[in-house]
Symmetry: C2
Subunit: 333 residues, 2 copies
């Protein structure tokens, strides 16, 4: 018996980080055409930090994301365009604009303990007739019970699927199995999983998620994404096929798109560098890396010790000052 | 309870493929110094195809491998230098020369069904006082019973460990678990595992091997190796540590060596390209890729179809003519 898995490609959203938000309409159009031809059900297009992310703080987009969404939607005959919305970065107006540009799915993303900030955005997604999904970022930081509680909130707001998101690439397969299984037991809606490859475990974590019952899985072509990148979509199609799952995707057409459209636009390879490995080892979000490097330099300590300590302290976005305090404390110790 | 795992780094041997056999004494010396400082027990130095591999057919080495072995051995206070020997490529004289240059371990490699050609080389390794290991290449091509039979041959010749080697990066964790468990049951000697990352499963396969009882594991810094590369050694140390294993390796020192010595000498990133993915998917050895591309071009067919068919036919080294016959047959079909 083959089981169906729905793959959502995030090359044109998470990959935005990796190309410093430089996507052009021509690039997005070519990638969208290939994803549609390959039979990928959904693919995501937005700034790396979601709708409204283009800013000095998160990086300016070369091209307005609404134009990119329009360019993508124009290529879709069977695929549909998804957008990411992080409340606090993107607004409800941004979502309405994205829908006018052709978006058919919204994924509302919050820190793993803060699903409650997403209630209105989930409700709006449903009102607008979108496929509406909750996205629990940095899921490695919360115990299973907390994730179940937060996912139930998302479901209660109207989410049709809830994702476990390993933003830091810090999970190992048993962590994934525990979280996905618990959500499958606790929720009526679909369960999804989004991986990063900092510990070289994105593919294994993805397989663990599918085996535990996840039916929505993210990937990106050539692994294009933040940090060490994501689960590589075209490789995932091969692996899932070998394991007896049905993705509905034409492997050759997807390989062609990865090879002919994505590979040429990459600004650096998606390798596991010293920085991305330590982020995954410590379980720290990638946006902290530059601060840790600066703080380490300022106080003459090893940036890896700073990141390890930040991981222990479970720091979250907004606590960047803590990084400097940690570096200072390492001097004294 | 922590369990001990012995990591063998192959950056300076499998990585030779990735840098087209261009290693210099200075590069090898710097890498060896770092590996020794990090506490890596063994590391391998030879042409990518083992001792004597430097040739027009397999690629000429820029520097005589004996000089590279000497340069590596000169840096060792606790680490020991291993060499790979593929009977038919390297000779018994090559092994004696390598020992004179400072090698302390030999790994004798054969196709998974041909361990019998290694009897004399294993015996010589023991005679010379080397740590002596058997290495079953393309292990995905043989059923478990065949691998057990071949590994027992290696043990009967005197091998102190036998490796399951996933040369094509075609295995998934259940394949690894089945093979390693069977060898653990059938052999008295140690069992090892060597991965390639064509299906993005090198790390997961490595963990599966360790969990099934393998005590020798190969890796390469920055994944430097043939095809999509190997299990990334510094990432493996992080992952095994998280899972409660003791590698005896200093993670920071290994990261430094990967970052400061290996990264700068890489000629291309160790990504999973269209070519390496299809090789892994089809289970075909990387040396067939160029032939498949040529044959596909000559007959106007898709090189991927050629590789898939070659995989089905279980072609082995020496059967390169078959590739052209397959391409021709695809035209007719």
């Amino acid at each position: 018996m083959t089981k169906d898995v729905t793959i959502l490609d995030v090359s044109l959203r998470d990959g935005s980080h990796s190309v410093r938000h430089s996507f052009t309409e021509a690039q997005v159009s070519a990638a969208a055409k290939g994803l549609n031809a390959a039979g990928v059900r959904y693919f995501e297009v937005s700034h790396g930090d979601g709708l409204g992310g283009s800013s000095l703080q998160y990086g300016l987009s070369a091209v307005d994301e609404l134009k990119l969404i329009e360019a993508a939607a124009a290529q879709c005959t069977t695929s549909e365009v998804a957008v990411l919305l992080i409340p606090g970065i993107g607004t409800k107006q941004d979502l309405q604009n994205a829908v006018s540009a052709g978006a058919k799915m919204v994924r509302v993303a919050t820190h793993v303990t803060e699903a409650d900030v997403a209630a209105q955005h989930i409700a709006l997604g449903r009102e607008l007739g979108l496929k509406t999904v909750g996205f629990l970022m940095m899921s490695h930081m919360a115990p299973v019970e907390k994730i179940v509680e937060q996912a139930k909130l998302f479901e209660s707001y109207g989410a049709e699927a809830v994702y476990v998101t390993d933003s830091a690439g810090a999970m190992l397969p048993p962590d994934v199995t525990a979280r996905i299984s618990a959500l499958k037991n606790a929720l009526q809606c679909d369960v999804g999983f989004h991986a990063h490859n900092n510990l070289s475990m994105a593919m294994a974590n993805t397989v663990a998620a599918v085996e535990a019952g996840a039916t929505f899985i993210d990937g990106s072509m050539r692994a294009l994404g933040a940090g060490a990148g994501n689960t590589q979509t075209e490789v995932m199609v091969s692996v899932l096929e070998k394991l007896g799952y049905n993705t509905g995707i034409d492997l050759y057409k997807l390989i062609d798109t990865a090879n002919d459209v994505i590979a040429p636009l990459m600004q650096q390879p998606q390798e596991i560098t010293a920085g991305s490995l330590v982020l995954g080892h410590a379980g720290v979000y990638s946006s902290f890396l530059l601060h840790a490097q600066k703080a380490a330099k300022q106080f003459g300590v090893d940036e890896r010790d700073v990141l390890m300590k930040i991981g222990e302290l479970k720091a979250v976005g907004g606590q960047e000052d803590l990084i400097y305090e940690v570096a200072q404390s390492l001097v004294k110790a």
